[in-house]
Structures are given as structure tokens and as C-alpha cells.
């Protein structure tokens, strides 16, 4: 039996029934990782630590005591999540030797369950990019077709799950970085409500937009992983205090009475014909299965992309200033004075895309431009938030494609950043409005690459999203599913 093909829940059941051990699972995945090196999914493999944790987990399981859900289950996390003693590069040359002295809160939570951490996933540098072509550690390949990008910035996390290198993974999503690669690799990607999962230890790209979330093979796996990582954290001032539902119990196998919001402005933003066909087909399906369609107004939605690139770059410019060559990371060798140390270290340490966004961010924050860009963007952001809030007075979920089209080939958009940015047009409004959203596969394009559909919910309505997504996953089918 090939254990690597299991879902998270299936593996969990086999462990529980003692039909497999965590060490056996872990070894299968480590072997698979070895065999698929050309995908370039991982930046760091934690072989020894993984096996040690697996042995520990097996002892716990064999002792017969009750144990937490993720005990002994092999997973992978994105390389911008701090792991004590394990280098955390953020896909950047700057941090090639940076080993954090502390764990991110989500890592603490996984460790507390004795989940097996197989390695740290490749990613676009500092989570900036939508194709994984901006990693200092090389491109990650799409396991479905190696000519195509896996999406980004959590490309490694998506490719790892798609290639069965782990049972599930964690990514981070600032403007679509979980959902877009999930869509490109045919997976489930969940971006939780801002404040649901602690950001402590997640190396910040844009602090007001970043969220950690799961990439999985099934919706129920997503619920399981979310139930472990969610929850308020006193180390993160932006994490929300409220009583968590049990995400594993969200499933009713019914969407009867569900009010699905349809926004013409949103759907008309920009989408390929084949994607449009798929989206309409899902909408029709939902209607036939008892959901009500509701027209909603999101007339400022077209401002989202501009708002996003102003706000995200402003925050990124500030967040990335700490990488100055003084304390850790790259330090240029030949400098004559302090400003040269800064200038040369940063010039050598950062990639092109990161530099582009730092410059953009510093520009919109600089005196004389602050009001015209940053302040206006924050105003527009508020307007977009309000529109979503109003819409959610009359609907439960809003539907859209995850991306305008299916995965593209390497090099197709690298010369045109603006076109690359446009691939985020459906995902960024969700981050701007601090909402949760999930991407699930709903079809295939001409190029035989998957199409993803996005369901957006009101704040902290992950349960509704998971239930709806689960229903679609189970009952909706398309040619070639």
C-alpha cells in the first residue's frame, strides 16, 4: 500500500487502528521526497527530527492513552514560519543561514500534538510572488505538469501536497498565496479570517493582511488542520478572542437554504471563458441543490488590486527594513561605512521582486505622497470592507473563481509584473476585507490544468465555508474529475 496517497483523515484512522505506524508513514514520505527532488519543493528536509518525532508519536499511540488528532501525522510547513533550531529562509538568499531561536505559535501547536514536521517548503521570496519563480532556491514545479508553475507564494506547500510528499501543509496568504497555488495544483486551500490564526513567528510580508492556513487534499482535512492551528494568542495583538467552534463538526452534507451572493462587478473583473463556464456551472449546481442565489453589490471591488499593492508594499517595505546586514543574514563583504553596509547587503541579499515592492512601499509612504497613496488606499479599503459587510447582511457566501485562468507556464509572465499581479485579482479583495475564503477544484482547462472556485464567507464563518466546500467536493462533478 502506498501510504503517501492517503488523506490526513485516512492516515489518522490507520494510525489509530494500528494498521500503520508513524515511523512507516514518515519513511514513505521521506522516500517520496527523495524521489521527487526535481520538483524542488523543499528548502530544508528535517529527516532526523521527523523520525525522532515519529518514534515518540508511536510510543504515545501504542501506550493506549488518548492523544491529539495530529499525533504522528507527517506535514510540511512554509519556510516563512519560524522553527526553533531549523533554518527559516523565507525563500531568500538574505536568510540562507538564519536559524530562529524560537517557534512560531502554530509550530508550538503542531509540536504539542507531536505532528511530524518533514521539512520547510520552498516559496516566493518573502511571500512576494504568484508563481514561485521568485525563490532564491529555484523554481518549484507543478506536480500535475512540470512545465507549469505551481502558483505562489506558497508554491512549495501546494506542490508538496499535490505530489504526495506529505499529508497536508501550511502556507501563508497575504493576497492569495494559499488559494491561488491550491487552485493551480488542484487542492483545497483555506485562508482563515484575519485574526483567527496567530501570526506570531510568521515572518511578516504585510502584517495587516497575512494569515497562515492549510493546504490539503480534502475539505475535511482542511477542517482538521484548521482546528489545530486556530485560536487566540496573547503574543499576537491582532488575534481575535472568541470561542472556537469545532471545525470537524461543521459538516451537515446539505446546502439547503444557503444564500449564495453573486456580484456581477466581481465576476466580470477578468476571467477566461473556460473559467467562466466552470463558475457558472457550479452556481447552477448550488441552485439545484437548494441554495438561493442573491444579487449583491460590490461596486468598488475593482479598486482592490490597487489598494492591495499600496498597503501590502508599504507594510512590506517597513517589515523588511530589519534585514540590514547588521544582526543576521547576508552582510556584504566590502563596505567602507555604515550606509554602504546597508546598501550593499540589501542589494546583494534581496531578489528583484522584493526590491521592486520595497521601492514601491517606500514611495507610497514618503512625505508628499503618503496622503495621495497610502491614505487614499486605506480609505478605499474601508469602502470595500463596508461593501462586503453589507453584502453579508443578505448572503452567507460569495462565489468567484479563485484565479482568472488556470496555471501558466514558467517564464510566461516574469517580464510583466503587472500581468502577474492581475492573477491575484479575485483573491486580494478577501485579504483586504479580512475575510475567510476557501478554494476548491471545480473543473479542468484546455491545458488539462485544474480550475478552482473560491467561496468567501463573513468574518469567522469558516464552518459555513467548510460545509459548502465539502458539499461541492462530494457532489459536484465535471468531465475528468
Amino acid at each position: 500500500m502506498d501510504y503517501t496517497l492517503l488523506t490526513l483523515l485516512e492516515a489518522s484512522k490507520l494510525l489509530k487502528d494500528r494498521k500503520v505506524t508513524s515511523v512507516e508513514l514518515t519513511k514513505s514520505f521521506l522516500q517520496k521526497i527523495e524521489q521527487t527532488k526535481k520538483l524542488n519543493t523543499l528548502i530544508t528536509i528535517c529527516k532526523a527530527d521527523a523520525l525522532a518525532t515519529a518514534e515518540k508519536a508511536d510510543k504515545i499511540i501504542q501506550s493506549g492513552v488518548a492523544y491529539p488528532a495530529l499525533t504522528g501525522l507527517p506535514i510540511i510547513i512554509k519556510d516563512n514560519i519560524s522553527t526553533k533550531g531549523v533554518r527559516t529562509t523565507c525563500g531568500s538568499k538574505f536568510l540562507k543561514n538564519y536559524i530562529p531561536p524560537y517557534n512560531a505559535t502554530v509550530v508550538e501547536k503542531l509540536n504539542a500534538q507531536n505532528a511530524v514536521l518533514l521539512g520547510k517548503a520552498n516559496m516566493d521570496e518573502f511571500a512576494m510572488g504568484g508563481s514561485n519563480e521568485h525563490s532564491a532556491y529555484g523554481n518549484v514545479l507543478n506536480p500535475l505538469n512540470n512545465e507549469y508553475v505551481p502558483g505562489g507564494s506558497s508554491g512549495g506547500s501546494a506542490s508538496a501536497v499535490g505530489a504526495n510528499l506529505c499529508l497536508a501543509s501550511l502556507g501563508s496568504d497575504t493576497g492569495g498565496s494559499i488559494r491561488q497555488p491550491a487552485a493551480y495544483c488542484g487542492l483545497i486551500g483555506l485562508k482563515p479570517t484575519y485574526g483567527l490564526v496567530s501570526r506570531f513567528g510568521l515572518v511578516a510580508f504585510a502584517s495587516s493582511l497575512d494569515q497562515i492556513g492549510p493546504l490539503t487534499k480534502t475539505v475535511k482535512d482542511s477542517a482538521l488542520l484548521l482546528s489545530v492551528i486556530a485560536g487566540s494568542d496573547e503574543k499576537d495583538s491582532t488575534s481575535e478572542k472568541f470561542k472556537l467552534p469545532d471545525y470537524n463538526k461543521c459538516f451537515t452534507d446539505s446546502i439547503r437554504g444557503l444564500k449564495v451572493g453573486i456580484s456581477k462587478e466581481y465576476l466580470n473583473l477578468f476571467m477566461s471563458d473556460e473559467t467562466k463556464v466552470s463558475v457558472n456551472s457550479v452556481i447552477e449546481f448550488l441552485k439545484q441543490h437548494g441554495a438561493t442565489l442573491v444579487d449583491i453589490n460590490l461596486k468598488n471591488i475593482d479598486l482592490s488590486l490597487s489598494v492591495y499593492y499600496v498597503v501590502a508594499c508599504a507594510e512590506a517595505a517597513s517589515n523588511l527594513s530589519r534585514f540590514d546586514g547588521v544582526k543576521y543574514g547576508v552582510r556584504a563583504k566590502d563596505y567602507k561605512n555604515l550606509s554602504e553596509l546597508y546598501f550593499k547587503s540589501r542589494t546583494q541579499g534581496f531578489g528583484e521582486e522584493v526590491k521592486r515592492r520595497i521601492m514601491l512601499g517606500n514611495f507610497v509612504l514618503s512625505s508628499g505622497y503618503f496622503d495621495a497613496y497610502y491614505k487614499r488606499a486605506k480609505k478605499a479599503q474601508q469602502a470595500i470592507k463596508c461593501e462586503f459587510e453589507k453584502a453579508f447582511n443578505i448572503c452567507d457566501v460569495i462565489i468567484s473563481p479563485t484565479t482568472p485562468s488556470t496555471a501558466f507556464k514558467f517564464g510566461e509572465k516574469t517580464d510583466n509584473p503587472v500581468e502577474m499581479y492581475a492573477a491575484d485579482v479575485y483573491t486580494v479583495p478577501v485579504n483586504i476585507a479580512e475575510l475567510p475564503a476557501i478554494s476548491i477544484p471545480c473543473g479542468k482547462g484546455q491545458n488539462n490544468m485544474p480550475i478552482g472556485i473560491q467561496l468567501i464567507g463573513k468574518k469567522f464563518s469558516e464552518c459555513t465555508l467548510l460545509n459548502t466546500a465539502d458539499y461541492i467536493e462530494k457532489h459536484y462533478s465535471w468531465e475528468g474529475k
Partner: protein, 475 residues
């Protein structure tokens, strides 16, 4: 032409909370380099700040004591700039929505009261410290990173170096009184930036200002302003123009040096810190802090003079430090003789505590013991001189005054017969002094009294001794 000096100050004070402003590291002084810091205050990737609410409480105390309006809504912003002592490359500070708005401080100068307006008080974090060594290059100590600071910004209401220093002293006294800052200048607990400009006397249009950065002693503030006034006056008198610039003050050279001018000035690219949510302060919370504020020196001095009839000198000295004032008031509650108490505090208690690194809160002679001793004086059980000896003794032994007096055998002798016996002996032994006394030399009386007190170890009631000497010699 005569010029009017115009000065505005930006005063930074470290708050003495238990822990730092955005992490749980200790807020203290004197740790070995880089042993009192964590991922948060050293700005490691992914670490996040969380506000220590005590810092806000302390800052609100400062605001209320200086007449500021406490904002219901305040926001932390990032002040972005590169410097090795700033590990995040931004300082968390406040700009558009500071915690305290407005305010004022009253200064007494040569008998005239002057009001200095405050523009604002905001909360921010301190940076680390650079140590430049000759053979190891520049070293960084991050211990001071994220130590809480308040910055008090005045309006340009000061007109001389004296006024500036008086204001600083006043602010220091208030902060120490409130118990929110150590005020220890030598440990960098207070620093300030000084803005100086000149305008023709009688004018109301301010001249171009220069800013002296980060001065850490009152003496340097004074010298810096005097130097800058002279420098600017020289420029203006030669028909030149003062350039708006930031200048560095050197204590060694007693000169200021240009650091950067307006064109080179940094754009700090302030924006709201997305890691910290805006803070709401309720009126009820402000009220609860207001209720706990200590009375400040002015109020106390006024009360001491008018209600307790203390001389202004005594009142000012006793009220100048909160612990002294509280000790005095505690004594007063036990024994209603203000002047007797203030005499003992000023001449003995403050002398004994000096250099002992002790606080009036926990000295062995607490208000109960001191007032018991004073009662013994007024009851004629000991005289003042003995009381001072006893005070020093019980400071060491922690005894009750009465027990100590008995143990030391110092209870005053009021028995006429017993004293008379001693007086007669002394007279008999000193015939020459008797002659002198009879010849009208008053010194001789003092001699006799001295001899008798010596013989009785100071226990004899001095009044009785006096009367007896005169009576017995004149027989």
C-alpha cells in the same frame, strides 16, 4: 539689535514599569550587554509586539499631572529609519493620535509664575545602545531596546536657558513624585532635544531654529542653549542667516556641531503599526487613575505653610520628595506638632538616611517611633540632645524609643535633691569659677551647666540645673 531667545523642548523620560513596553523582558538598568532581550525587542523576523498596559497607566498619570487631555483613541505608528541600535529599523512611536494632548506646567522663577504649554505627550520605545570601542569597532547592546519612554513636547514658550533647566527640573520632580520614572539622569532616564531660535526683541515672528539632539544632563542643556544663542546672535549680527539644522552638542568641546540640515533630513515614513491595534481609553479608566494620583509638591507646600504654619523653607524641603512628604504627613497624623516633626526630619532623619541608599518607607525609625520619641521630649522624659542620641541608637537597634532610653539609662533626672547634690559637688571643686561668676562673667554659668550635664550624662533637666547653679552660688 537685541534678540529674544525662543526655546522649545522635546523631553524623553524612561518609565520605570516592571517589564518593557512591548515584551516581557525586565525593564532595568545594569544588565550585562545583550542578556536582557528577546525575539520581540530585538525585532527578530516574525516576532510581534504586545502593549504592556502598565505603560499606558504611567503615561496617563504623567498626562493628568501636567494638565493634558487624555485621548480616547490613540494609535502607535512606525517611525522608519536605519540605525544599528534600532533592530527593527523602525521605532514604535505615536504621531497623529498621541495619548495625551496639550497640557501645561507652572514654573516659579524669581517669584514670578510662568506657564509653559505642552503640545503633547506620547508613548514610544527606546532604542539600544552603541558602544564605540577602539579595538573592537562598534558594539551594540540591545538591552535598552523597547524600554518604555514618554516624550513630552513643549510649545516654544521658554525664553532662557534658566527657564529651560527649571522646566526640566520641574518635570523630573513630577515624574519621580508620580513614581513613574527614576529620573536618574546618569542612567539616561531623561534626555532631551532642544530647539533654539532668536527673534528681534518685540517681534512675534519666530526665527529659524536649530535642534540640539539627545542631551542627557541639565548642565549640558544650559551650556548648549547659551552656546547656541551666542552662535546664532553672531550670525545674525554679521547679517547672516541661521540655517535650519540638527546639531550635536559636545560636552568635551563645549560646542555644537552641525549633523544634518533640512534638505538632508530624514523622511521617517510614519504609518500606523499594523501589529498593534488602535487603543481605546475609557473615561472611567482615566477617572480611576486620577483617583489614585498623589498630591504634587505645590499643593503640599501650600498646605504646610497655611495650615501647619511651617516656614516656607521647611515646607519646600519636606515636600520636595514624595517619600519625605508622606513620612512627614504620617508623623503628623500621630503627633500634631508640625514644626517639631519637620525639625527632626530636616536635621536628623534626612542626615541619617543620606548615603545609606535607604528609602524613608522602610527605615527603622518609622513615623510611630519618631513621634513617640518627640512625645518623650515634650513630656520632659528626655531633652532634645538626648533624643538625638537615642534616635541614632534606635536607628541601629530598631528598639522602641522608651525601651532604649531606659536601657541606656538616659531618662531625664527631674529630682531636685539628686541634682542639687551634684551641683554642690561641682561648685565645691571649682572655686575659681565661682569667683568669676560672682564677678559677673556669664561664661562661668555655661561652664557649670556643662560640667553638670557631663556628670549626669546629659540626663539632668537643664532648666533645673540652671536655676540651681544660680541659687547655690549666690547663697
Amino acid at each position: 539689535m537685541k534678540y529674544q531667545t525662543v526655546i522649545g523642548l522635546e523631553i524623553h523620560a524612561e518609565l520605570c514599569t516592571e517589564s518593557k513596553v512591548f515584551c516581557s523582558c525586565k525593564n532595568g538598568f545594569g544588565f550585562s550587554p545583550n542578556t536582557n532581550c528577546c525575539p520581540v525587542c530585538t525585532g527578530l523576523p516574525g516576532a510581534l509586539p504586545v502593549l504592556n498596559s502598565k505603560v499606558y497607566e504611567y503615561a496617563i498619570k504623567a498626562g493628568l499631572s501636567m494638565g493634558s487631555k487624555i485621548s480616547k483613541y490613540s494609535v502607535f505608528e512606525r517611525k522608519n529609519y536605519f540605525y544599528p541600535d534600532l533592530p527593527k529599523a523602525y521605532q514604535i512611536s505615536q504621531l497623529e493620535y498621541p495619548l495625551c494632548i496639550g497640557g501645561h506646567i507652572e514654573l516659579e522663577l524669581n517669584g514670578v509664575t510662568k506657564i509653559i504649554r505642552l503640545n503633547r505627550i506620547h508613548v514610544e520605545e527606546d532604542a539600544g545602545k552603541l558602544i564605540h570601542s577602539e579595538n573592537k569597532g562598534s558594539l551594540i547592546d540591545f538591552n535598552r531596546c523597547s524600554v518604555p519612554l514618554i516624550e513630552m513636547v513643549t510649545e516654544p514658550d521658554l525664553r532662557s536657558a534658566q527657564e529651560a533647566v527649571a522646566l526640566l527640573e520641574k518635570i523630573r520632580q513630577i515624574l519621580v513624585y508620580l513614581g513613574i520614572s527614576t529620573g536618574k539622569m546618569e542612567q539616561g532616564a531623561m534626555r532631551c532635544d532642544v530647539n533654539v531660535s532668536l527673534m528681534p526683541e518685540g517681534s512675534s515672528v519666530y526665527g529659524t531654529r536649530t535642534e540640539l539632539k539627545n542631551i542627557s544632563s541639565f548642565r549640558s542643556v544650559f551650556a548648549g542653549i547659551e552656546y547656541e544663542v551666542k552662535r546664532q546672535t553672531d550670525i545674525l549680527e554679521k547679517g547672516g542667516k541661521v540655517i535650519q539644522e540638527t546639531r550635536r552638542w559636545s560636552d568635551e568641546k563645549m560646542q555644537s556641531f552641525a549633523m544634518r540640515n533640512k534638505e538632508e533630513s530624514q523622511s521617517y515614513r510614519y504609518f500606523p503599526d499594523p501589529d498593534l491595534l488602535p487603543i481605546t481609553v475609557t473615561p472611567e479608566y482615566v477617572q480611576s487613575i486620577m483617583a489614585k494620583l498623589p498630591r504634587l509638591p505645590e499643593q503640599r507646600i501650600k498646605q504646610y505653610v497655611t495650615e501647619y504654619n511651617l516656614p516656607i523653607y521647611d515646607a519646600t524641603l519636606i515636600a520636595s520628595e514624595r517619600e519625605t512628604a508622606e513620612y512627614f504627613e504620617d508623623c503628623l497624623a500621630l503627633y500634631n506638632k508640625p514644626k517639631e516633626i519637620s525639625n527632626f526630619i530636616m536635621s536628623d532623619i534626612l542626615r541619617l538616611i543620606k548615603g545609606q541608599n535607604q528609602s524613608l518607607k522602610n527605615i527603622p525609625v518609622n513615623p510611630k517611633k519618631l513621634t513617640d520619641l518627640l512625645k518623650m521630649v515634650s513630656d520632659g522624659k528626655v531633652n532634645v540632645t538626648v533624643a538625638k542620641t537615642v534616635l541614632e541608637e534606635i536607628w541601629k537597634t530598631d528598639e522602641d524609643p522608651e525601651k532604649a532610653v531606659v536601657r541606656m539609662g538616659l531618662m531625664q533626672v527631674n529630682d531636685m535633691a539628686e541634682i542639687e547634690k551634684i551641683v554642690r559637688e561641682i561648685i565645691a571643686q571649682n572655686p575659681q569659677a565661682v569667683e568669676e561668676f560672682k564677678a559677673g562673667k556669664s561664661k562661668a554659668l555655661a561652664f557649670f551647666v556643662g560640667q553638670i550635664m557631663k556628670a549626669t550624662k546629659g540626663k539632668a533637666n537643664p532648666q533645673i540645673v540652671n536655676e540651681l547653679v544660680i541659687k547655690l552660688i549666690n547663697i
